[in-house]
Symmetry: C2
Subunit: 377 residues, 2 copies
Amino acid sequence: MFRFELICSDGKARRGRLITPHGIIDTPVFMPVGTQGTVKAMIHKLLEDINVQIILGNTYHLYLRPGPEVIKLAGGLHSFTGWHKPILTDSGGFQVFSLSKGRTKDNRSGVRVFEEGVEFKDHLSGSLHFFTPEKVIELQEILGSDFIMPLDECVEYPTTYAYAESALLRTLRWLDRSIKHKRREDQALFGIVQGSTFEDLRILSATATVERDLFGYAIGGLSVGEPKDIMYDITQVVCEYLPWNKPRYLMGVGMPEDIIECVARGIDMFDCVAPTRMARTGTLFTHSGKLNITNEAFKKDFSPIDEECSCYTCSNFTRAYLRHLYKSEEISAYILGTIHNLSFYQKLMQDIRIAIEEGRFESFRRSWMERYSSKLC
Amino acid sequence: MFRFELICSDGKARRGRLITPHGIIDTPVFMPVGTQGTVKAMIHKLLEDINVQIILGNTYHLYLRPGPEVIKLAGGLHSFTGWHKPILTDSGGFQVFSLSKGRTKDNRSGVRVFEEGVEFKDHLSGSLHFFTPEKVIELQEILGSDFIMPLDECVEYPTTYAYAESALLRTLRWLDRSIKHKRREDQALFGIVQGSTFEDLRILSATATVERDLFGYAIGGLSVGEPKDIMYDITQVVCEYLPWNKPRYLMGVGMPEDIIECVARGIDMFDCVAPTRMARTGTLFTHSGKLNITNEAFKKDFSPIDEECSCYTCSNFTRAYLRHLYKSEEISAYILGTIHNLSFYQKLMQDIRIAIEEGRFESFRRSWMERYSSKLC
């Protein structure tokens, strides 16, 4: 029912294919984030137009709204949302640890970690909830997503060695409980490697997680404020300890340059809110870097966002028109910006896959990085 | 270049076709409102998917933002917006008189009417502007819209006979100046019949406007707070004084029941913000009436908005999912709601056209009105 096929590789970069009950996914893949059962400012047919093969859902958000009861009655998340291609859901762990902070009156963290699970106050009503590894599996079994994640303890950056160690060990114990509790066979569970920025802890976590023999392996706790070279280094080290024949997912990453750098280190799957979130504030991607379309400079600029882009937005609309829509706070601005940013990411991933297939990933990476500036213009 | 073909009629209801430089429009037609050069919460390809043949633009809004200079540089509104089908623009008169109210510090109207034109403070910055009939023609010649409107003096409801009379006479004098000033031959000018709710003034206005021999005739100043039966009666009276072979446009109307009632009285063209604006607040149309999708009642309702609707939204999504999107304030809610409401209007107009063609408009009208409740459920 689930299979990962490695088609070819080029250095550490890999070109593969994920087979799931809801369809096939070409890797390396970027997965747009559909937090609440919809990719923001998009509708499914616009995602299909740009060949999106998988989207993410957030267990935490869907648990709060519309709640598991509604999704269960609907027959799962695919049926509820009308998105019939693959879905990956996270465990909610990241949101529990990030969104619940400071919900208490005395401004201390609203999160309390116990061996049994994690207590938190939600970011909507401030109500108290308790997630256990078992509950998170049950929630995702109701969701029926193709790829599911076990509850993990996410630590902030920077953190102490001792705390990072205790969190990764707890994450391992929670993983074992997750594996034991999982019932559905039409869902594939990933293990999550933690250990903050400490190489030996990352190796310990990777080794122990791989021992559990899961469908795939995720790297958590990166892109949380650490310098980029540390993120790249940790990704490289962890990949060395992951089995060659299993998919590798770098959670919450990233910007186009991060994706290229981490494909070079052996990552197959990415997700990030950047292209969709930035689209809603007018930051749009081009082959030479990001631009903020609301700038005065674009008022009379009748060229497309990116001359090399063939997306619906770039094929039909000018920077001047898009700037006008953004300045006028029209919803169409967010739709057209999101179409472009996601198309840009789709094209990047396609170019990466072709470069790997053709054994020229290193030269692609070099020339791409030379043209692209990570600064905003 | 412009032609109105009357294909057939059924009682006073008419089935026609408008031929313009940017395409053909089947009448009776409902024209979605694209105030700022975009239909709210839509992108052009979604409008094309539901066969929208013409959209409106608002001269007042486009004059303020992005301003005539930008649109002129772009080569007109079609080129600027990338919408290459027909466009109708209003004169800005209605917005000048409605949006500028109370902009002054002493809370008096920000609008001052002179014989030369109208002075107003805009609703964005409060700056002072002056529109003359000539300026409004020039602005629309820059826009390059297919159908253009002359500046008119819009009166509130209720108003006095004397004021309504003086406003309609000024509107006629402004119309003559507009006709004289118009240069472009690839645009068709309508005349606007005013006269508030006074039948004899409406007849006077209609007769005098028709004497100017314009491409088409619009009825302004209705649907501004007067009872529905008065709106229907005035529409009926005015239509009796309009030539049979010219298109008739009822400005700013209306709800589905208004459209049916006014087609029955001889109207060919309609525009209204209702379907798009209501979609953004969760009010969706069905064949039995309107519903507010955010109601608790729809939380576990896995049926489509309207069983009889075959739009993208109804074909793919349930009330429960849409309610979730609206409650979560997702942009996709507004997109999907707008697709549905506009599709509902498109289907209504198509059903009207077919009923007229088949000589059964009266029975269609009766059975439609029997099922449809104008109340919100």
